[in-house]
């Protein structure tokens, strides 16, 4: 299985994500420049955290106009797994692959800590190795992670089981404590917490491992079909 990690100017979790794939599931992974227009040969797309274009204007807003975006949208239509973490999640909402928006944290401050997340949907290609309702320990680090959507959208994503992770308690003001959502088709996941920072006990938690294992396993299952 081959992963692409998209690198925008100002991305800063790109290497973490690269190492995560390499070290946790030993899959092939390549860093892809934001000016590229082809993702041929890749099976999955990872959009890393960071501050693309400094997060100037609004997080993810300027990255949404980079050349690679069109190609990412095509990959989404093809049903390839696309995972956006933190700034990656913000970009996915900015380009409309996921509903809603990420606003400044309610407390108006950046927040970095390791939090409890509840797995709300363990039937996705990203979470199949987790148990439903499992509590996992994953770091967050964001200033604009306050998920917002209007009531109609909220009902929709609830009805479609699109909420994949919730914070166990309110950390940033997100609607319904939402920490991560998936698209209706089930191949595009955006989340604020950083599973790539939770792969080894020595740095605090290895609860992120199952996410990468899920992606690999789902891929293998599809290939073997």
């Amino acid at each position: 299985m081959k992963f692409a990690v998209i690198v925008f100017p100002g991305s800063n979790c790109d290497k973490d994500l690269y190492f995560a794939v390499k070290d946790s599931i030993h899959a092939e992974v390549e860093m892809i420049d934001y000016r590229e227009t082809s993702l041929d040969g890749f099976d999955a797309v990872l959009i890393p955290g960071g501050f693309s274009y400094g997060d100037y204007l609004r997080s993810g807003a300027i990255a949404a106009h980079a050349p690679i975006i069109k190609t990412i949208k095509k990959m989404a239509i093809l049903g390839k797994p696309i995972l956006g973490i933190c700034n990656g999640f913000q970009i996915l909402t900015e380009i409309g692959l996921l509903p809603g928006a990420l606003m400044r944290n309610r407390q108006n401050k950046f927040i970095c800590e390791t939090v409890d997340l509840r797995v709300e949907n363990s039937q996705t290609i990203f979470t199949s190795e987790y148990d439903y309702d499992e509590i996992i320990n994953i770091p967050v680090a964001h200033g604009e992670g306050n998920y917002y959507c209007d009531i109609a959208t909220l009902k929709q994503i609830n009805d479609n089981n699109q909420i994949v992770f919730r914070y166990a308690s309110d950390i940033n003001g997100s609607v319904d404590n939402i920490a991560g959502i998936i698209n209706k088709e089930g191949n595009v996941l955006g989340m604020m917490p950083h599973p790539e920072r939770a792969l080894e006990e020595i740095i605090g938690s290895d609860d992120g491992l199952k996410m990468f294992q899920s992606i690999l396993k789902s891929h293998m299952n599809r290939v073997n079909l």
């Binding site: 100002g10 190492f19 950046f110 927040i111 390791t114 740095i203």
Partner: protein
């Protein structure tokens, strides 16, 4: 505007307002140039001879520091010090102060301080792996102080988070003297392979000088002089020296410079950041180090504003800019390399061999002076110190009054200087890069070195109360305390960087504090074989003539050979035995409890037995490498009562202890003591090792209680209550109107 002529400058003594004395001006005219300097030249001399750039008031004192050890690869004089950590790897680190800019524009002042120190690290070719910061504010009962604290902390986070370097530790203290003059010191640590080290040199005739990064504007002109000036209510007009940081630009610049050094080392001769005194300081120093000369063409310097004068271009402190010295044949490759990374790179000059600093604008020579005059001939002043009246030789100690141990204990835990700093450090990304093994909240922060068993421990420390009451011993204590933090985490201390924050050195009492405390730090660092490899001096920290406490900050790094040996301060298991290592004495001068009960600190400090300190550090490191303990915490502000509490808080485990000492000794601040916890299985081996260097004082419990018995009393407090006081104190003060 037409610039004043050389004669007019001499006549009106215009140079005085730029910080040059009559004597200095005469030296320039008579001894160095043999003519009067023109406007631009006077400006260049005035910044290069400012305290900030030339250390003219402090050089003599700084010579006390030792910068040698078997590990030192580069010491002071470079952008940052370099220390060997084995396997052909080294760490590069330095600290820098940004006190004055932060007083004026706290967010940007602090942010650009962080930006500046990061450039010092990557300009050596190193990859930054961690940031720390030392902050000192006024008391949190004042709206302006809260505003400064809030903005300074968000500036530090804003820059560090955006650029993607974890902010892993630091210190924060509060004292009324910092009210209008906060202390903002930032430290950066980088990692490098020996072969990649680059020095800021402009060598080789006809090699080119390349400017990279942000455009030059009129921001921060005379920032270096400004940093060497004191604040009063009335000199608000000076305040044009505000710069806005652009962490996005810096991220591009950092990644590009590191890649250049790694992949195309042969293209470049030298690389240097533009910090204080911008273009002039960076280029003149590069030439001075190489013993060469320079020609600069100002028309080529990228400019953000129109009609900038040579004076403005040379002195601008616009941020996020670098200077390279390159081989001419790679000119196009280098320009293309940076263009691809969204950065402007422009050739602005070349290296000559005549030792001259020649600057042209629109074909005219605007400056022609010897580099050595500018860089090396800066005057050096030897001030004479006078002992301030408050300093006493009396050995009398403050005697705390403790009516209820419970009350005093809880009160101490709720003091801002003691209480958790989480409210602030939670806003820093401490985990990015996924290498942070010990995050903020323990004695030292620990970052692993990927693909090795090694880790680097680091800390910022400097208890200015102790330095205030007794500069020499207080200086020693700063080093001992920083080393204690590292040792407690299992690291061997290997190097020091410092920020020396004081008042106006032209006042004899201030100079005395400065000189004595540096002597103390130098003595301790020599004795413990921890060399001082870089640092920074910030003087004139005064507001309306009242100086801050003498506030040296020690930034110390340590090496952990085997990451499995990392120890943290929190108790791990109920039933583990608790030991206190080191003797507790009747020592309360300068302590937290003195401050709490007297609202002031005074008295003298007892001599520190450095032999004992050294052997104790060795002992702790030995019990850690022998894997005999489950936690280790050094005792600092607040003494044993606070250390035990903090050890309890981390994993919400209580304790039951009995000590053979009077109640007030729980708050004694005798340095170099440790609280460790040991599982029963290791008891025998552990006790054999420590002999009479420590004593068992109790055990860890899981009943939500902290209990202590002394020779005259016994107290129990609820763990939950203590935690909520300790954790909530700062946020409570910050939110109160």
């Amino acid at each position: 505007m037409t610039e004043p002529t050389a004669e007019m400058i001499q006549e009106t003594k215009l140079y005085r307002s730029w910080g040059l004395s009559d004597q200095e001006f005469q030296t320039i005219a008579n001894d160095i140039l043999d003519r009067l300097p023109n406007y631009t030249e006077t400006g260049l001399f005035s910044v290069m001879w400012s305290e900030h750039c030339s250390y003219k008031n402090s050089k003599n004192v700084l010579r006390k520091f030792s910068n040698k050890s078997e590990r030192v690869l580069a010491g002071p004089g470079e952008d940052a010090g370099i220390i060997d950590i084995g396997d052909n790897q080294a760490i590069v680190f330095k600290a820098e102060s940004h006190n004055h800019p932060s007083a004026v524009e706290p967010y940007q002042g602090a942010a650009t301080g962080v930006g500046g120190i990061i450039r010092d690290i990557f300009s050596m070719g190193a990859t930054p792996i961690a940031l720390l910061n030392s902050l000192k504010f006024g008391d949190l009962d004042d709206a302006h102080t809260k505003y400064l604290a809030e903005e300074i902390v968000s500036g530090i986070g804003g820059y560090g988070n955006c650029i993607g370097i974890p902010t892993v530790g630091g210190e924060i203290a509060f004292q009324a003297r910092y009210k209008k003059n906060p202390i903002v010191n930032a430290m950066c640590v980088g990692l490098i392979d020996h072969d990649d080290v680059k020095y800021g040199k402009a060598t080789g005739k006809d090699n080119l000088i390349v400017y990279v990064g942000a455009k030059t504007g009129r921001d921060g002109i005379h920032g270096a002089t400004f940093a060497s000036d004191e604040f009063t209510d009335s000199n608000n007009t000076q305040r044009s020296a505000v710069q806005v940081g652009d962490p996005f630009m810096e991220k591009l610049l950092m990644d590009a410079c590191i890649e250049l050094v790694h992949e195309h080392s042969d293209w470049i001769m030298g690389i240097q950041d533009m910090g204080a005194a911008g273009l002039v300081s960076s280029t003149a120093e590069m030439a001075s180090k190489a013993g060469s000369g320079l020609i600069l063409e100002l028309d080529n310097v990228p400019q953000r504003e129109t009609e900038m004068t040579p004076y403005e271009i040379m002195l601008s402190e616009s941020q996020e800019r670098m200077v390279l010295c390159i081989k001419p044949k790679y000119r196009q490759e280098i320009i293309d390399f940076f263009t691809d990374k969204m950065l402007d790179a422009v050739v602005i000059g070349k290296v000559t061999m005549d030792g001259k600093y020649k600057i042209y604008q629109q074909g005219k020579v605007v400056c022609d002076i010897p580099i050595s005059g500018l860089v090396d001939d800066a005057p050096e002043y030897k001030h004479v110190g006078i002992k301030p009246d408050r300093i006493t030789d009396s050995k009398e100690q403050f005697k705390p009054e403790i009516e209820s141990l419970e009350d005093t204990w809880l009160k101490i835990l709720g003091q801002p200087t003691i209480s958790s700093k989480e409210y602030f450090y939670k806003t820093y990304d401490s985990q990015i890069k996924a290498n942070t093994v010990v995050k903020p909240g323990s004695d030292a922060s620990v970052v692993r070195v990927r693909d090795t068993k090694k880790a680097i421990a680091m800390t910022n420390d400097g208890n200015s109360r102790m330095v205030y009451v007794d500069p020499f011993i207080g200086g020693q204590m700063a080093v001992v305390e920083a080393a204690s933090n590292l040792v407690a985490s299992g690291a061997i201390p290997i190097g020091i960087t410092d920020c020396l924050n004081y008042g106006n050195p032209e006042k004899p009492e201030i100079f005395w504090e400065f000189e004595k405390s540096v002597s103390g730090m130098a003595m301790a660092s020599r004795r413990l074989n921890i060399p001082v490899v870089s640092g920074n001096v910030s003087l004139y920290n005064e507001f309306n003539e009242i100086a801050i406490y003498p506030s040296p900050m020690i930034g110390m790094t340590g090496l952990i050979e085997d990451i499995d040996n990392v120890v943290t301060q929190g108790f791990k298991d109920s039933g583990d035995l608790i030991y206190l290592i080191g003797e507790t004495r009747n020592e309360f001068n300068g302590s937290e409890i003195q401050q709490l009960q007297m609202h002031d600190v005074k008295g003298s400090l007892n001599k520190i037995n450095m032999d004992q300190v050294e052997s104790r550090f060795n002992l702790i490191l030995k019990i850690i490498t022998n894997k005999l303990i489950n936690s280790c915490h050094d005792l600092s502000e607040g003494g044993l009562s606070v250390a035990l509490s903090e050890a309890a808080f981390e994993n919400k485990l209580g304790f039951q202890c009995e000590v053979n000492m009077p109640t007030e000794y729980l708050f004694s601040e005798t340095p170099a003591r440790f609280v460790v916890s040991v599982s029963k299985d290791n008891q025998k081996e552990f006790e054999d090792l420590i002999g009479n260097n420590g004593a068992k004082i109790g055990f860890v419990t899981d009943d939500n209680r902290m209990n202590i018995k002394t020779i005259d009393t016994e107290a129990t407090i609820e763990l939950d209550e203590a935690i909520s006081i300790w954790k909530g104190a700062i946020s409570c003060l910050m939110k109160k109107n």
